[in-house]
Symmetry: C2
Subunit: 194 residues, 2 copies
């Protein structure tokens, strides 16, 4: 009693190509081949495939599935813990991104139908705000004690105020801000600090 790839694929709800792939990487090698070279899967193979699918449904990669099966299922608790940690990180990340998008959408909606170009500028400003006002990025560029430190702080303060006032991105003031900022950064980079 054995299955061809097509049968097994239908049975397991995946494609023939996927089974070919599993075979190629050694994850599920059919126990037999017909004389003409057809893959023949036995009942044990089917069971193994179920195990594979079970682990995949827990979010493991094919490689991870392979090692878990190789170790005969020891270390499953560790895998679960790891998966949970990754999932939590993922969820947190996605949630943060989501709230950022909501915030941006609101901001764009308030500016009553601006130029298409304005949207881009807003996104750009928005992302700068996000990027350079985060402590991490500030630390990266603002080596404490270096010459321009106070200028940076002033600039950041001004920029933050501008964002809060919802300064039009095309305005003279906004351009001036961008200019100040560009000049500072260029000095950093040209001076090759870091």
């Amino acid at each position: 009693m054995s299955f061809t790839v097509g049968h097994l694929a239908k049975l397991a709800g995946l494609t023939v190509r996927a089974l070919h792939h599993y075979d190629a990487i050694g994850l599920l090698v059919p126990s037999k081949r017909s004389e003409s070279g057809y893959r023949l899967y036995t009942q044990d193979d089917v069971l193994q495939l179920y195990r594979i699918q079970g682990l995949r449904r827990l979010g493991l990669s094919l490689t991870e599935v392979q090692t878990v099966l190789a170790r005969d299922g020891a270390m499953i608790p560790e895998m679960i813990a790891q998966q949970l940690a990754e999932l939590d990180a993922q969820i947190e990340h996605a949630t943060a991104l989501r709230s950022r998008l909501l915030q941006l959408r609101e901001r764009l909606a308030q500016g009553n139908e601006p130029d298409p170009g304005d949207w881009l500028a807003t996104v750009e400003l928005f992302s700068h705000y996000d990027k350079y006002c985060s402590p991490e990025e500030l630390n990266r560029l603002m080596v404490p004690g270096s010459e321009g430190e106070d200028k940076w702080k002033a600039l950041v303060t001004d920029a933050r105020a501008a964002m809060d006032r919802k300064l039009a991105p095309q305005s003279v003031e906004a351009r001036a801000l961008g200019d100040r900022w560009t000049r500072l950064v260029m000095r950093r980079v040209d001076g090759d600090i870091d």
Copy 2:
């Protein structure tokens, strides 16, 4: 006033290789080259890179960024909506997976330190339960009105009861269940229904 790749990379917080890549795919082609072939980025290039990074921080792929920039930022609202939808789906998926893992962990913890092999069996059973007791999968295999329909229903009921009783996966009863299930599925697939 222009930047070399290295400078721009440091400035933007990404690698030289990434900028090479952006160049290769036409996302950010430096406006100039030095005589010896060095990439030289102008201020406008830098601004474009900021736009790119802004859009990337919203979760867009490089291709999406490219089309948004090509259309001069029109369709940003649509992109936002789409991103939000994808994020919601992602969050939902991750959350579901998370709760599944928690459930499994609990189940494994309750079985006081079983064989390693038992873990695998439990995962397998668990995943079957998950898979074949979901309405979607049942529909796929259980063509209504077909001959074995009632047998399937009985089997599913028994399996569900077994899961609830936390039947040991190695027990005779569990094996019998697995057998019944295998036989039914094989009839389906061999009979080439679908």
